[in-house]
Structure formats: C-alpha cells, structure tokens
C-alpha cells in the first residue's frame, strides 16, 4: 500500500508566492505583512480592480518605512530628478523594475486616486518607467516615491542614471536609420535602369537618375554616417588608430568613387551599395544597443556594494543607514579606522584624519571642532560625531575605492592584449585592404572598390573588444547577486588564478554576530559605562561584542585614545588610564579556559575584570574549507590559541594554523607565500589585517553589517555567503575559459569572413549585416555562458 501525501498549498492573493505563514484578510490569504498592507491600501481606495485584470499581479513587498525616500526632498537631489518644476506643478520620471503586467499599468495610471496631489501618471511599459505629474504644494517628491513603494512599486532611484538622458540619443539613431533607409530604397529604385540594362535607350534619363542618387546619398554620408566619420577624425586627432577608421575609409571610398564615376559619366557608381551599407550598419548598431541594454541593464546596480554608517535617529539612537540616504544636517558617528562617507563638519573637540586615500599624504591631519572634514578621509583614534554637509553618492565612494592608492601592480592582462590587438589589427586590416586592392586592380579593376569596402567592413574586430567587458561584467553581476561585491573587472581575472587562500579567524571563520558574552570580575556601573563608551570607538569585532553586551547609556570625555592593532585600546578618562584588550596588554597572567576569547579591562594597570566571549563558528564553513582542499593554506589569527582545537577540526591537519599574529606578521606571511610563487587570496575582516588584504593578490573583506568600508580590499563579501567562496573561485576560473572561447569565436568569424571578402565573394551589404551579428553572438555567448555556469555551480549550495 502506498501512502499519498497531500499538501494543499496556499498562495498569496497579492503576489502569488506560496505562503509559509498565512495572513488572512477579507478571506484572502497573504504571504506577508507587506502584501497585506498593499491590499489594504488598494481596498480602502476602491482600487481592487487591480486584482481582476490579472491574477496575483503583485510582487512580494517587504514592509517599508516612510522615511526611506525623504532624502529626495533635498532641493539638490530633487532638481536632478524633476523634469519640470514650478511651485504648483512638477513632473518626474521613476524607473520601476517591478512593472510587468496589465494590472501594473492600470494601478500606476490610477495613482491620482490614491493621493489627490498626484495630477496624472503615465506608464511607459517598454522602459518600465512611470511619468508622474504632481502638485508640489500637496505632495512632495519623496512622498510620491513613498506612495509608489507603499503599493509595491518601489522606484529605483539612481541619480547618475538620470543625467544621461538616454532616450534622446536613441531617437537620433532611429532618425539616422530612417534617413538611410529612405535613401536606400529610392536609390535602388533609380538604379533600376542599370539593373535591367536599359541605359542605352535613354541616356539623359540615366544621367538624371544618377544625379538624383548622389543627392539622396549626401545626407546618408553626412547625417546618417557622421558618427563613423567623427570617430575616425577623433582617432586621428589622438594619433591613435581605432576600429572605426576602416569603416569610415570604406564609406568615403565608396561615396567619392561613385560620385567621381557619375560626374565624369564613366559609370553608374555604387551608391545603392553605399546607402544600403550605412542602412545595415545602423540597423546593426541599433540592434546591438538593444541587446546590450537588456543584457547589461542592471550591471551598475548589483555590482555595487551596500554601505552603511551609524546615524543618530530622531529617537536618540544610533542606527545604521545606507550612505546615500544621508542628507545634510544628519549626525553620524565614525569609529576608529572608518572612512568618512560624506563631506561634514566635525562636532567633537578634535580628531585626526588620515587623507592618504585621497591625497597620498600619510601623515594624519588634525581637525578642530567646526572644521570641515572631507569624504574619503579615515579617522584615526577616538570615535567622533560629524554633521553631514553634503549628501554623497555611491559612485563617489566607488571611485575612491578604485583610486590609484589601492591599485594592485599587475594590470589587467586581457585589457592589454585587447588594446594592443585593436591597434595592430587596424593596421593589419588596412594592409590587407591595400594588398587586395592591388590584386583586384590588376585582375579585375571594375569590382575593386566593392571588394575593398567589404574587406574594410568585415574585418572590424569589435566582437573581440566586446568579449572581455561582457564576460567579466556578467561575472561581477553573478557574484554581486551572491553578495560578493568586487571592486572592478580586473579582480575577476586575478581571482581566477588564485591557488592559495588564507583566512583570518575572528569575524571570518567565526560569526561576527550573536556571541555568548560573560562578564567576570568587579566592574561597577560607571566603569562599565566607560568601557562601553571606549569599545564603541573601536571597530574590532571583540570590541563590538563587548559594546553591544553592556546595556548602559554612556557619555563622558575621552583623552589620548589609542588603538594598538593586535593588542587593544587605551585611553585616559577622568584621570585614569583605561586599557581594554589582550591579557598581555593589560597585564593579566592567570591561566584561563582555552576555548573562548577574552577581553580584559584594566584601570590604572590593575586588572578589574574580563569578558569571556565565545563566538560561534559559521555554519557549513567546514564543508567549504574541505571543498577548497589544497588551496586553503593557512589560518592567521590575532588572538590567542584559545580556539586551536575547533579550528584544527575545521581546517584539518594540512592547513597551517598561526595564532598571536600581528597585522605585520599577517602581511609578511602573505608576502612569503607570494615569494614562493603562489597567487594568494586573503579573506579577513579588513580591520587588523588591512595590510595583508592589500598585499594579497585578491583581498576579500568579510562583513556582517556591511558597515565597514576598507578601501584596501578588492571585494566585500557578506558573512553569510562565505560558504560559497570556493564556488565563487571556480566561477571566476571558468570565466577565463569562457573569455577565451569568446575570443576564439570572434577570431573565427573574422578569419572566415575576411577570406570570403578578399576573394570577392562577399558584397559590402552582406558584410554590413554579418558584422553586428558576430558581435551580438559573442556578447550573448559570454553572458549566457557565465549565467549557465553560475547557476550550475551555486545550485547545491545553501
């Protein structure tokens, strides 16, 4: 007898996802509070028609807060977003990724029924944008965005994107295409006498037709084809030959040769080929841009890393907030060694700021209360509060991340190859074209011009130039989806060659969150408060645990704060010397249970007590280490050998386990490995191993709250995703194979097509069609291959 399990699945009335925990409302099931809220809003406004147009039209909506779009009301920011602005009328375009069906259109176009301040809204389904006209006296821009988010259509705000004004350039391309197409059609019509061979009958008529053709071709060359000519001129100005030169040369050759033929009445010219060529080139360009748009659309977004900083909220608590939500007047707190995310005014008495990331000058600069401090500086010493002066954008910090100070020596290998190839290639193409011209001039002068043009068209190595950015770009995106945010595409290349991985312990192998903390010793209330205050200045994971463990409010003035990496922190408070840190640092000599970490507190060199901290080892990390196998070289820890036992269990006997490592020791260890010929990846928390991260070929900072920004690293990995690290390495290795295959395909195309063109079997028209097809196939191949490999690699890992 077999037993049948029947599982009745309930799906959400709003979004159609299966419900794990059902929220009932009006006899309708909802999967989460967010979906239910959207339904409530729509129901109370008589907008439930939304659910009739399409079943489960919503997208899963996490409950959001009203404040998250408040920064849009800053005049500077809203000016960037508004397309029209007057006191009583304004309009803005929002990009809404979740638009996907008829119901979406219906609801978004009925926004005015949700809020009277909205005058009108129009959806552009193709671009997933909505154009909203509203009355600024009744509703602010931020509230409009909040309103959209409240019904499940959170707009994606990107200030950088808004500036580009994409549609206009797109339109001009289509205009150029229209002109070229028009001319192409008519030129073919006027060339009919030539095609049918009736030129003998009426000579004057063919002359008129020929001149009409010239007239039609002029705008094709000087309007439709102007981009190619301009690119060629620019390349000559920069004294560098680029891949547009052969195309421009081909166009000019065809046009002037034909005009010369017609003017001297020696022949009909090739103006039908010429106009058709431009027409197909432009179609190719248009199709290419469409393909790239759909493939590369969210590259900028997902490959960004989320950054947060502590901001003083209205109820007097420090809460982390994403940095681009900072606005003028916010009070933020920066801890020792953290970066200043935005230009601000110093609120505390004094601070030392290290601007070496910005200026290269290593000596810290002293700032006094009221001084302006600039984004990109790093705080040395006591944590300070700052008042934000200027809101910041993610891209600013990303560009900082990419600044020269952190550039690794080994430059991108493929970029160099491509640069050199493109330059040499163009010369080779021109050379081949010249040789072909000589050959055809001798054997068959009549078809020389067409053959040259075909050669010039088809040899364009643009597919070659596109393979690398698209392969590496999609790897960046796939990794970004799995919460590894790499600095740039070069890192992907370097990651692919890694053969040694070195781990830091605290915050990397062990959890950065929810430790067991126990307090031993005699610390009174006020001393505990001071310890909380001091540990709040430090970014070391153990300091953070102690800071979170003590539940007291802490205020007071701190002098002479110093953080000694690998030892602890030291400061003067009310005439007493506080030392918080390791046993040796504070002068503690008794033997303690070796299975936990300790933070000792001494006041005026007398040990008052200690915190015993047991951090949890991350789940499933042992499996990952096992899969890494021989590649996993070492564990470097700044702590005592307290956790040697469990670490040996995880890492096995083949891995070197080193404890009591100072930041300098870690750096030296990495250096040694490199000297032995290894390509090293360092995985650490980026605080007391920043030097090692920078020294390593690839340095990955692991973080749990995405708060700490370490420009020395090459990537930021979310702590929970560390168990996928081995698969990520495999993906980057596979990407180099994919890239090579892309190069091979592109080269194959060029070689075959060129051989046909040289032998005169390929007309310029076919060449013009073939060229974009080759680029598109290479681009699609690399993007899809990366996606396929990524999905397969990460399938079994949770």
């Amino acid at each position: 007898m077999t037993r049948t399990d029947v599982v009745a699945e309930t799906t959400c009335f709003h979004c159609g996802a299966s419900c794990e925990e059902i929220h009932w409302r009006d006899d309708k099931p909802f999967c989460c509070k967010g979906c239910e809220t959207v339904y409530e809003i729509l129901d109370s406004n008589n907008l439930c028609e939304y659910y009739n147009l399409n079943l489960t039209p919503g997208t899963k909506t996490p409950a959001i807060t009203d404040t998250s779009y408040a920064y849009l009301d800053e005049p500077e920011i809203s000016a960037k977003l508004l397309s029209f602005n007057s006191p009583s009328f304004a309009s803005a375009d929002f990009f809404i990724p979740s638009v996907h069906c008829v119901s979406c259109i219906w609801l978004l176009e009925n926004l005015s029924k949700l809020h009277t301040g909205v005058v009108d809204s129009k959806v552009n389904f193709a671009n997933k944008t909505v154009h909203i006209d509203f009355n600024p006296t009744r509703i602010s821009l931020g509230t409009v965005a909040g309103l959209l988010a409240s019904v499940g259509y959170a707009p994606r705000i990107t200030l950088e994107h808004e500036k580009k004004e994409k549609p206009r350039t797109d339109r001009s391309l289509i205009l150029k295409l229209a002109i070229a197409g028009f001319a192409f059609g008519n030129v073919m019509l006027f060339s009919f006498p030539e095609y049918l061979g009736i030129d003998q009958a009426d000579h004057t008529l063919t002359r008129i037709f020929a001149w009409l053709n010239v007239a039609l071709s002029v705008p094709v060359l000087f309007y439709s084809g102007i981009d190619y000519l301009r690119a060629a001129v620019r390349s000559f100005q920069q004294k560098q030959i680029n891949i547009d030169v052969p195309i421009a040369a081909g166009l000019l050759a065809l046009f002037f040769r034909s005009t010369y033929d017609i003017a001297t009445a020696t022949g009909p010219g090739y103006l039908d080929s010429f106009t058709g060529l431009v027409f197909f080139l432009l179609i190719g360009r248009w199709f290419q841009s469409k393909t790239y748009e759909s493939l590369a659309f969210d590259r900028d977004f997902t490959s960004y890393f989320p950054l947060a900083v502590n901001r003083l909220s209205e109820d007097g608590e420090w809460k982390p907030v994403v940095i681009y939500h900072l606005k003028k007047g916010d009070t933020i707190r920066i801890r020792n060694l953290e970066l200043i995310p935005a230009d601000s005014i110093l609120l505390d008495a004094s601070a030392y700021i290290d601007y070496s990331f910005v200026t290269g000058e290593a000596k810290p600069v002293k700032a006094k209360s009221g001084d302006k401090v600039f984004a990109g500086g790093r705080l040395i010493g006591t944590a300070v509060s700052l008042a934000v002066e200027k809101s910041t954008s993610q891209s600013q910090l990303t560009s900082l991340w990419n600044s020269d100070a952190f550039k690794k020596v080994n430059e991108s290998k493929y970029k160099k190859i491509i640069d050199r190839a493109a330059r040499n290639f163009t010369w080779v193409v021109l050379g081949i074209a010249a040789l072909t011209a000589v050959y055809w001039y001798v054997t068959e002068p009549a078809s020389m011009w067409l053959v040259i043009t075909s050669v010039l068209m088809v040899a364009c190595p643009c597919a070659l130039a596109l393979a690398a950015p698209f392969t590496l770009g999609s790897v960046l995106r796939e990794l970004g989806k799995r919460q590894l945010y790499l600095k740039n595409a070069d890192v992907v290349e370097r990651m692919g060659t890694i053969d040694a991985v070195v781990f830091d312990k605290t915050g990397t192998v062990t959890h950065g969150q929810d430790p067991e903390v126990e307090l031993m010793g005699e610390l009174d209330e006020s001393e505990l408060a001071k310890v909380k205050l001091l540990t709040g200045f430090s970014t070391h994971p153990l300091s953070k645990f102690v800071h979170e463990f003590i539940r007291k409010s802490a205020t007071g003035s701190v002098d002479d704060f110093r953080e000694l990496p690998g030892k602890g922190i030291q400061a003067h408070m009310q005439g007493k010397v506080y030392k918080i840190g390791s046993a040796a640092f504070t002068g503690f000599h008794e033997k303690l249970d070796q299975s936990a970490s300790y933070v000792f507190v001494s006041i005026d060199d007398e040990v008052k007590g200690y915190f015993m901290i047991r951090t949890m080892i991350r789940r499933n990390i042992a499996d990952m280490i096992q899969r890494l196998g021989n590649k996993c070289k070492a564990l470097l820890s700044g702590d005592h050998e307290t956790e040697k036992q469990p670490m040996t269990y995880i890492f096995g006997s083949n891995t070197t386990l080193l404890f009591n490592q100072s930041p300098h020791d870690k750096l030296a260890y990495i250096h040694n490995l490199q000297a032995k010929g290894n390509t090293v990846m360092m995985v650490g928390d980026g605080l007391n191993d920043a030097g090692a991260l920078k020294q390593a070929d690839v340095g990955i900072a692991v973080t749990d709250d995405t708060g700490v920004f370490t420009p020395a690293c090459d990537g930021i990995l979310h702590g929970s995703e560390i168990t996928k690290l081995d698969k990520m390495l495999e993906l980057t290795r596979a990407s180099s194979t994919i890239l090579k295959s892309g190069f091979a395909i592109s080269f194959f195309y060029n070689a075959i097509a060129l051989s046909f063109a040289v032998s005169g079997h390929l007309t310029p028209l076919v060449a013009a069609i073939l060229m974009p097809i080759s680029s598109i196939s290479v681009v699609s191949f690399s993007t899809l291959a990366v996606k396929f490999v990524a999905n397969r690699k990460f399938k079994d890992i949770t």
Partner: protein, 63 residues
C-alpha cells in the same frame, strides 16, 4: 519618356512626405512605448471614486 520624369518627381515627393510624417511621429514620441496605449484604451474610466476629501483625509492620517 517625359512622363517618367513626371512620375519620378511625384513618387519622390510622396516618398518625402511619408518620410516627413515618420520623422514627425518619431519626434512626437509615438514610438517610445508601443504597448501601454493598446492596454490603456481597454481600462474602464468609471472606477468608483470615493469622495476626494475622504481620500485626502486618509492620506493625512497615514502620515
């Protein structure tokens, strides 16, 4: 054969007119979104509209 010259000029003029019409429709944004208008015309206009004041009050309360 002069009739051909006449026909040619007429055909060219008509072609130019169509090109002009296309450019105009292009510039006025008719091709920006080819899907939404086809759906928009099917929506009912007579969605029961609650009293405007009521909506405004509700929105105020939500704040």
């Amino acid at each position: 054969m002069s009739i051909i010259a006449l026909l040619i000029s007429i055909s060219l003029t008509i072609a130019l007119i169509f090109l002009g019409v296309f450019l105009w429709s292009m510039k006025s944004g008719q091709y920006d979104d080819t899907y939404t208008p086809s759906v928009r015309m099917l929506f009912d206009n007579d969605v029961k509209r609650p009293d405007e004041k009521e909506t405004a009050v509700k929105a105020e309360l939500k704040k």
